[in-house]
């Protein structure tokens, strides 16, 4: 079976969630890989949410908010942009391709854009392959156990002063 990316979307209520609804009303089809979480404003989206999503199993995270200048709460989207830029900058240190997170401005009228963004992002993540932080962590730590060597016998610190 081919790899189906898992994508978490964080959508602002006023523009992007509405835009995503519009895609539905217009019956525009897009790939079912995204699971969206509604927040009031893209300014509410904490980078920790994104880390959490990546940790729990997301292969990509989409953040969507109102276009610059159109924020329902005036400037929340600029804060989202700054947090996003900064998070993108540090992701490589975690060994994560910064392309796994994406910020898009989707207006309430842009149902088609939302669908395109999801499709495009899904493909991009598909190309990047699975991320698998949680399983990966177990896998990476599988050797981090107390070894039992050939000598078998009682281990420990008879002479060992730590």
């Amino acid at each position: 079976m081919s790899f189906e990316p898992k994508i978490v979307g964080f959508l602002c209520n006023w523009c992007s969630y509405t835009g995503a609804d519009l895609a539905g009303t217009a019956r525009i089809k897009y790939s079912p890989n995204i699971r969206s979480i509604r927040v009031m404003c893209s300014g509410r989206i904490e980078p920790t949410f994104i880390m959490k999503a990546l940790y729990e199993g997301a292969d990509g995270v989409l953040i969507a908010g109102c276009h610059p200048g159109d924020c329902h709460y005036q400037e929340g989207n600029y804060k989202a942009l700054r947090r996003y830029r900064m998070l993108k900058k540090v992701l490589p240190d975690y060994g994560i391709d910064p392309g796994r997170i994406r910020l898009e401005w989707v207006a309430a009228s842009e149902g088609e854009k939302f669908a395109n963004v999801v499709d495009d992002f899904t493909e991009e993540i598909r190309n990047l392959g699975p991320l698998g932080i949680k399983e990966g962590l177990d896998e990476m730590m599988k050797d981090d156990v107390i070894p039992h060597h050939a000598s078998g016998g009682e281990k420990g610190g008879d002479d060992n002063e730590a």
């Binding site: 079912p32 404003c41 509410r44 729990e56 200048g69 159109d70 005036q74 929340g76 009228s109």
Partner: protein, 662 residues
Amino acid sequence: MSVRIGVYLCHCGANIAGKVDIDAVADFARGLENVTLVKDYKFMCSDPGQALIQKDLENKLVDRVVVASCSPLMHENTFRKTVERGGLNPYLFTMTNIREQCSWVHIDSDRTTEKAKDLVAASVRRAFLLEPLTKKEVPINPRTLVIGGGIAGIQAALDLAEAGKEVVLVEKEPSIGGHMAKFDKTFPTLDCSACILTPRMVSVGQHSNIELMSYAEVEDVGGYVGNFNIRVRKKARYVDSELCNGCGACWSKCPSSRVPRKGNVHEKLSLGPTTSIYMPFMQAVPAIPVIDRDTCLYFKNDSGACGICAKECERGAIKYDMTDEIVEFEVGNIIIAAGFKTFDPAKVKRYGYGRFDNVMTALEFEVMNCASGSTGGNILMADGSEPKSIGIVHCVGSRDSHYNEHCSRVCCMYSLKYAHLIKEKTDAEVYQFYIDMRCFGKGYEEFYDRLLSEDVRFVRGKVAEISKVPVTETEEGKLVVSVEDTLLGTVRRIPLDMVVLSTGLEGSETLPEIAKLCSVSVGKDGFLIEKHPKLGPVSTATDGVFVVGGCQSPKDIPDTVAQASAASSAVLSMITREKIEIEAATSEVDEDKCSGCKLCNTLCPYQAVKFDEEKEVSVVNEALCKGCGTCVAGCPSGAISAKHYEDRQIFAEIEGIFSGGL
């Protein structure tokens, strides 16, 4: 204490059930932690559907409700009320969107069902952590502030005043009237602008429910819907309005001019006197002159060398020592009618405005046509002679990515109006250079039709440039317009005596400041953003603040007046309610955690987060807070939380999404 979550799945006829395997989702939901009851129904939003939920709540079968159906933007309120009727706090309910963002948008049925399961699981986890919230109510002050005294503000103020409500109308110019007071005729009916506007201006000046503050600016807006605190600066007019009777003796002898001299007949294209003490136009309301401090000799010389107006005034109304006055008052609602400004065509160098005589802006041309203007309404070239040919260039500063993307909506029509006036007053040939004729209002197309019959020359093409370089003899001494006649596919050079630039409309210079004061957003196009482009055209994201007229988008007089009346009725509806519920899902500061770093203080667009100097912590004014949560994400210590969108609730949702093994 155990939590009992009820999950209600809606089929929405075949809308959801046709794609999502409801039984599979129901089985899945039954297996989720804390879920004690799962029901599905054909139409959950129908009366029997709602009754289903209500009954379960009344029978105390569940104490948290998850409804998986359409978008919360559609029916969240419906179900909140249902839940409330069932005796549960409405915030202990959450909604899962398995229609707009699920069944309607995906093709593969299995994968759509899987997605629905994940979304339900997320909602169930979220529901487990929901907290009850209480909505608060605040009283509404019945007085209203109207910012801007153009036709929009005048209409809104009069509507409210007539309904018996008090209004404070603040206008930054010395007189109300706005742009409309500068117009000669109005399209398409060609009725006299002054004739229809003046009576209304007078009504505003005389109405007992309207307090008019002209030559004044709003400096500060505090508070929140129903209870705004306003501070206004009334600029010094240097004329005592109690004593002045508007006789005009002062300006008739004033030796200095506030309008720069051009040295030709176009120099005095202004209504009213051009002296330093002046009335903007003769029908001004209030009919009290103002001294322009920048050009007045008395102020310029410091020594008080002039003082002629004071000597001329028999009533002693001239007060050079007058100072600005600050007034503070409270209102319940605000209507912003701050108007527009016209595009400055000097930016388009190739049209030669400011370099060539006889290239003028629409507004200058408008004033020239006004009977009370300095040419007495005659259309004249700079040298005083009558033009033989006039070109009208559309879309100057509109529909152009370099300046403004938007269509200014009124230029086509006023350009047609000018063509008509030119035909009526002179023998000149008139050329209209247009990209598209947009004549969409009532009677507009008919007016276009009429102009076609009046032999106006229509050239479809945006003017490439206006030059004074003659190529043929007939071009000598003329303004030469180069344009492609796109319908013919030919480039034409047309020599003209005069060119009128139909400049587009932009938000006024003061708009960003006003928007900031009132916590309203300015869009990319420079105009204020309404709450919803279709369904909330006059309200804004800030409760109690409304927008009307040219500051919301370019519009003609009929639309402006209609919008003004819409806003005043919206305000009346607010006032009649007497009280208003405010958002319950606000931010909240845990004062035990807040360490007063002040990082959050700049983040709130509504200034709802302020630092309490006494407690040394930041506090949220819940009446101002809109619940966007920007401060929450900006708080480093986790002291601020967003009610109903708490970190732990969103974390739970994320965990839920992956709990089913997507």
